[in-house]
Symmetry: C2
């Protein structure tokens, strides 16, 4: 069975005028999928409203106890349930999950070195068997980036990493396409020209484009990460815009 | 198979010094259960912090759009995930659910009459089959009082009603004990004397106690509601304190 694991950014959920057409597109896929969402914008706005200072170190957020509660409220709560309700309204039997639910995504709290990142988790693995049980029952898991440590601590986690782990966990049983959405049409030779889309990236083409310095530096970690998940059993990785879930750039073996 | 459906109030979740021993008690039950929780205190506090006015009519809250978002964040988000993480830390494979997840609890938005209650739902039914699938897989559902209408709207709902619906939904397949927790030892002949606990209430004893005006007026709707769920297939209803989940008063046929 083919399964799509689709990662969407949190900012797509905040605004109903964006979320509702996205739910239309997801419902129109008419094939089994798992959705993984971020939620950064909602969290930052709630922190601002509550007067909780956003602490950063080298451009990355530090998650203290108050910030974790805000992340849980906005990502596992509001963002997750808004998406689930939007899908349910379109006949998709969605089930919202955070990593703690059935221990579906486990992570390890980031070690304190020169800096204490607080309640931030690095993903260990997603439980493909639990997700398969839901998918086999016709249920669409919608996964937030709140994960759980072995000790049962809630941790704030990078949603791209959660999506990769979910895809790898499902690859044991299914033919998995991992879909990353971004605000471009896909991987472009010229970032300002949507017509310059590369439809398919193979390892050979990727090596050639890198050698010719034709890949935008921001895209390199995404494609490297795509090949990492492919080497762990994921069939292909699609990089596309959220309004074209079956288009964009397909990264293959 | 015997299943307990346990309702706990939201104020038990707010304070870790209360929540952690409660999670110990739940883990020590060593039998399958479904937990249904409220979350009122968290919602009110968040509303206050955000400067959202709590609108009331005849002692009942009106749920406008801002208040609904707060309820979703605090009940479906923070309260639900705190309980799930607390249970997971004790080896209970909990799964947090709101009514929208797998459409597990459906409700109808309350009709506008002389007053518009806003996004408030009256429970229609809980899906016992979906809950049974989880229970059969060794999973402990933890259900928040955020439910969903047929149209996919999120609605704020009374947690006691959700617990009753869950118990009735499971009664088709299981031998269900519905447990309501409160800040008394159970049903007392003298509310100020815990020693006056009635251990078992039968319909005959209940009729007699009512005739003799020996039941506190606040307890009558709870016992009436208990008999309503029993007439819908639930085996028994326990009214007890959260630190004595197998004690208190047992209401039976």
């Amino acid at each position: 069975m083919k399964i799509k694991v689709i990662k969407i950014g949190g900012k797509l959920i905040e605004d109903d005028a964006v979320l509702q057409p996205l739910c239309d597109s997801l419902a129109a896929l008419n094939e089994p999928f798992v959705l993984v969402h971020g939620g950064g914008v909602m969290g930052s706005r709630l922190a601002e409203q509550l007067g909780v200072e956003v602490k950063m170190h080298q451009g990355r957020r530090i998650t203290d106890a108050a910030t974790l509660n805000i992340a849980v409220m906005s990502y596992a709560g509001l963002a997750n349930k808004k998406v689930v309700a939007g899908l349910q309204a379109r006949g998709v039997n969605a089930c919202g999950l955070s990593g703690c639910d059935m221990a579906v995504v486990k992570s390890t709290r980031r070690k304190v070195t020169d800096i204490d990142w607080g309640f931030v988790g690095d993903v260990d693995k997603a439980d493909g068997k639990v997700l398969a049980m839901l998918l086999d029952a016709g249920i669409t898991p919608v996964v937030s980036p709140i994960t759980m440590s072995e000790q049962g601590e809630l941790l704030n986690t990078n949603a791209d990493s959660v999506a990769s782990a979910v895809a790898m966990g499902l690859a044991e049983k299914f033919d998995v396409e991992l879909v990353f959405t971004l605000d471009k049409a896909g991987v472009l030779l010229d970032v300002d020209d949507p017509e310059s889309l590369i439809e398919t990236i193979t390892p050979e083409l990727y090596a050639q484009l890198c050698a010719e310095e034709k890949i935008h530096s921001g895209m390199i970690p995404k494609i490297d990460n795509a090949y990492k998940t492919i080497s762990s059993g994921v069939t292909s990785v699609r990089i596309t815009s959220p309004n074209n879930l079956t288009g964009g750039t397909l990264v293959v073996k």
